[in-house]
């Protein structure tokens, strides 16, 4: 943990990378949620 912290402190570009990845995770999970809702809708229409 300590080494990781030191590494990130020295190579701060990776912090930006982490932040971009976090934003991507957020966007992805929202899209995933939407997808699940569409599936539920499709099932309810089939019935």
């Amino acid at each position: 943990m300590e080494t990781l912290y030191n590494f990130l402190e020295k190579n701060s570009l990776y912090i930006v990378l982490i932040i971009v990845l976090l934003v991507w995770i957020g966007i992805f999970s929202f899209a995933y949620k939407l997808d699940k809702k569409v599936k539920k809708l499709e099932e309810s229409i089939k019935e």
Binding site: L8, E9, N11, S12, L13, I15, V16, L17, I18, I19, V20, L22, V23, G26, I27, S29, F30, A31, L34, K37, V38, K40, L41, S44, I45
Partner: protein, 241 residues
Amino acid sequence: MKNFWKFLLFVLMTIVIIGTFVPPIVQYPKSFFEFPLIPGLEDKARIIFFHVPTAWLTVLAYLLAMFYGIRYLKRKDMYDDIKSVSAAALGFVFCILATVTGSVWAKFTWGSFWHWDPRETSIFILLLIYGAYFALRSALDSEEKRARLSAIYSIIAFLTTPFFIFIMPRLMIGLHPGSLEIDPATGQVRASSNPVIKFEMAANMRVVFFLSLIAFTILFFWFWNLAHRILKLEHVSQKEI
């Protein structure tokens, strides 16, 4: 024509990602793709292209949620409520993102995850308001009541925001760019002299920054559009049963 926006988003976001990572940071930039060095920030200055847009979308989403809430109160159209709640849901996601990305970055720049700087406090309050909004919605079982009361709550909660924007920076020491500080000599409020806080973007950074804002805004409207269309379909399909 309708798909134009999606392509634009694709192109812009690609430019933004390249613009975030590729340009080297040098002390004295000579060519257009070099970013100037800011002491104390270095590579971390690049966060601005991803962190600020999430914070901006949090606010935009709140305003939209409130706008459609008020429109619901005026027209009693259930679809206005659907638009309002979809905007709030997206806003909630971006609010969490803005908080988390900010605090990760703060750990490495300011030393700890949380500082209660005015902007941090405001985003925290927004997070609480979003949380309260959804808690309220889940506690109301009649659709009309839910739409009406959550719209009202969004208005009441909004009334406190001018305080956070205009007054709090006077009370607390800010760490975000553009914060004010108290001049130790005269006791007057002045713009901070700390290089991180004084932070001004070079022209080329500014271009990437605004492209990023545009890209994220398009992304937001696209997702919002999808979300409220899906909710609307859900609403219609339930009505038939």
